[in-house]
Every structure is written in C-alpha cells, then in structure tokens.
C-alpha cells in the first residue's frame, strides 16, 4: 500500500469512527436496526479524504434523531417513545398550569372590575395568597393589565384542543399565545416574573410531539379543563363572599409560615415519588414544568431580593425536590436497563 493510500484509509477510519459516534444521536432501538445501513450510506456519500462529518449531514441526522425520539415513524411503524411521552406530558401539564394561572388571573380581574372598589392580585409564586390593595384600581395602567391577564387565559383553549386531540391547532394557538405574551412583556424582569419562559417551553414541547403521542388527552384534558373553569368561577365569586377568610388561611404559602407551605410541597413531592416508581415520564415532565415555571421567579428573586417581598423557600424546595425525584427515577431506570430487567412502562 502506498503512503497516499494509507493516509486515505486512515482518514476513512477516522471519519467512520466519528460517524459511528454521531449515530448515537439516534435512539438505541433505531440504531440497532439501521446504524450499519446508515453508516454505509454516510461513508459512500462522503468525499475522498474527508476527516470530519459534514455540518449539514450532522444536522439532518440530528433532525432524524429528534423525529424518531419523538415518536415519528421508525421503519414504517409509529413508535411509542419515552422522549415523545415526556414531551407530551410537558405539553399537557404545562398547558394545565398556564390555563390555571391565566384563568384565575382573568377571573380576579373581572371580579375587581365588576365589584369595585378593591384590587385583588394573584401571582403563581404566591399560589394561595391574595393581596388586597387599598384604593381604586382604575387608572391608565389598567388597560395593559387587562390584556396581560386576558391573553394567558387563552391557554384554556389550548387545553381544550389537547383534550379533543386537535394537536395542530393547539400548537398554533400555543405559539400565538407565547408570542403575544412575549410582546406584551415590558422588559427582562417582567419576562422572569410572568410565565413567558414556561409558555415558551410548553409551546416547544407541543411542537415536538409527533406520531402516536399526538393523541387526544381526553381524561386529563377534560378534568383539568373543568377544574380550571371551576377554580376561575370560585376566584371570581370570592371577592364579595366570606370565603375570602378561607383563602386568607392559606396565605402561609411562601409568605409567612414556611412550615405549612413546606408540608404541602412535601406532600406533592411524595405523590410524584409514588408515580416515579411506575414510570419516569410524568416525574420528569413535572420537574421540567416546575423548573420552567419557578426557575425564572427564583432567578428574579436572587437578582432583586427586595422586589419579591416574600419567602421563596417552599417554592425552591418544591422545584429542587421534583428535580431530585425525577433524577433518581431516571438513574434507577437506567440501572435497571443495564441489568437487563424488563423496561419500565412508558406511560
């Protein structure tokens, strides 16, 4: 073999090794079925003397990997994949949370508008705390407030569309809501305070869901839809009734009594931990939603500690504990797979 041929063979081996490594971007099941065939085509299409994979080829493989992981056709068969199930769970859980936040906020605003005086402000980092301000809220800033409160309530529509299984319309609606919300936010601090980051993550998840995962979320969607509407009605009626006292009792969440709030967060984490014994999908999805929803608030509190004016320990605990539970579930699942145990169910 001449020196030039040896050099080319060395380049070829290096390229093959790099392509083989790149193919790890594909799910294991797909790789087992197709890796040798793909590698053969990749090597045949590569120019002589090439040492590194082409950027465009890399991007196309990344797109294929994403598609297959999200439940696209694999060898002509629609596959139920874990990543696809997680994206679906993030989309559904995130839409529920956003619908809840938006509908409650709008209901309270409407309550204020219809029964002046009195301004009740609700924020999700104080989920059960109502602030009652003195004075009349009607001023020039009100119009902007109405829009900011009305737009997120549109997530209720997304939730309904997911329950019906109209994923394409739900995706477009979510994107529109996200863009309008982002447009309505004034600055980066507001983006961190409002649910813009969560809306972005949920929109991305909805767009990522493909194949068998884009099926109707009938039970979860309808129950959540009814629960959100019920809560919104309750919040709307609350302004004049004695129930306000009951709500005031829950003010402990993140505001005054950490023990009460921490107990509620711990109960939620234990419930997620029980689910995690069966499947990693929902615990991971809830951790993603929690981080997307609470992360910006915690960052903002760290940057502007005086602004928040409340104790965020329970929320920090909730987010961290959910991430921990999800992490443990994933590690446990991986170890079980290595030991050759039957895979944990996806759903």
């Amino acid at each position: 073999m001449s020196g030039e041929q040896e050099d080319q063979s060395e380049h070829g081996e290096g390229l093959e090794r790099r392509y083989r490594r790149l193919l790890c971007i594909l799910p294991k099941r797909y790789r087992e079925a197709r890796a040798e065939e793909l590698l053969s085509v990749l090597m045949e299409t590569s120019a002589q003397g090439r040492r590194w994979p082409e950027v465009r080829e890399t991007l196309s493989l990344a797109r294929l990997g994403m598609r297959v992981r999200m439940g696209g056709e694999s060898g002509g068969v629609l596959v139920d994949t874990r990543a696809g199930a997680m994206a679906r769970a993030v989309g559904i859980a995130g839409s529920m949370l956003l619908a809840f936040i938006g509908a409650i906020s709008l209901a309270q605003l409407m309550g204020n508008l219809m029964r002046p005086p009195g301004l009740v402000v609700w924020t999700y980092w104080h989920p059960f705390a109502w602030k009652i301000a003195d004075g009349h809220p009607y001023n020039l800033a009100l119009e902007r407030t109405i829009w900011r409160s009305a737009v997120p309530a549109g997530w209720l529509l997304v939730l309904a569309l997911l329950a019906l299984g109209w994923w394409q319309v739900a995706r477009v609606s979510a994107l529109a809501l996200f863009l309008v919300s982002a447009y309505l936010t004034v600055d980066t601090v507001t983006i961190l305070r409002e649910e813009t980051v969560l809306a972005g993550v949920v929109t991305a998840a909805l767009f990522a869901v493909r194949g068998v995962h884009a099926r109707p979320a009938r039970l979860a969607g309808s129950v959540a839809f009814a629960a959100v509407l019920g809560s919104a009605y309750w919040a709307f009626k609350l302004h004049s009734g004695p129930e306000l006292k009951a709500v005031m009792a829950l003010q402990a969440w993140g505001a005054t009594d950490d023990t009460h709030a921490l107990a509620m967060a711990a109960a939620a984490v234990v419930a997620v931990g029980v689910v995690a014994r069966r499947s990693v999908v929902w615990p991971v999805a809830l951790a993603v939603v929690a981080v997307a929803a609470l992360g910006p608030v915690l960052v903002r509190a760290a940057v502007h500690p005086d602004y928040e004016g409340s104790n965020l320990v329970p929320l920090s605990f909730l987010a961290a504990a959910l991430v921990l539970v999800a992490g443990v579930a994933v590690v446990r699942d991986r170890l079980a797979a290595r030991r050759g145990r039957p895979p944990v169910p996806i759903g």
Partner: protein, 118 residues
C-alpha cells in the same frame, strides 16, 4: 389537505427514483441528484426520515439486503400503491405546469425559457 398535495418535492423525487427498480440508500441519493440535474442533494437523515414515512404509508417496502465490501445495503422497492400515488402526483404537477406554460405563452415569454426549441 390531501396527503398527495402535502407531499414534498423530495418525496416525489424519491418515489420517482424507485420507478425503474429497487435502489439502496446511496443509489437513491445518486438517482435523485441525476433526476434534478444536481439541484437536489439529499442528506442521509432527510432520506431515511422520508423512507420511514413512505414505508409507514405503504408506498415502498424493503426489497432485499446485501453486503458489498463489508457494508450493508438495503434495497427499497416502490409498491403498487406507491406507483399509483406517484402517478396521481405527476399528473397533478403536469396539469399545473401546463396551465403555467399556457399563461406564460399568452404573456409572451421567450420560447427558450418555456422549455421549447427555437
């Protein structure tokens, strides 16, 4: 929207490449390049995404496997359903092209640019 109207140009070219007989992945990429006069260069990820989708729709099937110089080759074949869908797509595109050419002729576009001979 019908499935045929939403089919992409690349998918159309892949189905066309398989009309003359089964081809393996690299063969499809080469044939599509030839059919498009080098304008289309299919990426491997794009090709296999399309092959997965078309297999799912029953428009093509795996014909055979062989190993050449230690490399695995899988040949894909157009099914009857695939041929029928391709024929429908081709007729639709031909009708649209005919309308476009007719209108361009009325507008007085140069003959050479319409694909005619001088």
């Amino acid at each position: 929207m019908s499935s045929s109207s939403s089919r992409t140009e690349q998918t159309f070219q892949i189905l066309t490449a398989l009309v003359d007989g089964p081809l393996h992945g690299y063969g499809i990429i080469q044939e599509v390049g030839r059919l498009s006069d080098g304008r289309t260069r299919l990426r491997v990820g794009t090709l296999y995404g399309a092959l997965d989708r078309l297999s799912g729709e029953g428009l093509l099937v795996l014909d055979r496997e062989e190993t050449v110089s230690g490399r695995l080759r899988r040949y894909y074949r157009l099914t009857d359903a695939g041929a029928q869908v391709l024929a429908e797509d081709a007729e639709r595109i031909a009708r649209q092209a005919a309308v476009a050419l007719e209108r361009l002729k009325k507008r007085g576009a140069p003959r050479a640019s319409l694909g005619g001979t001088a």
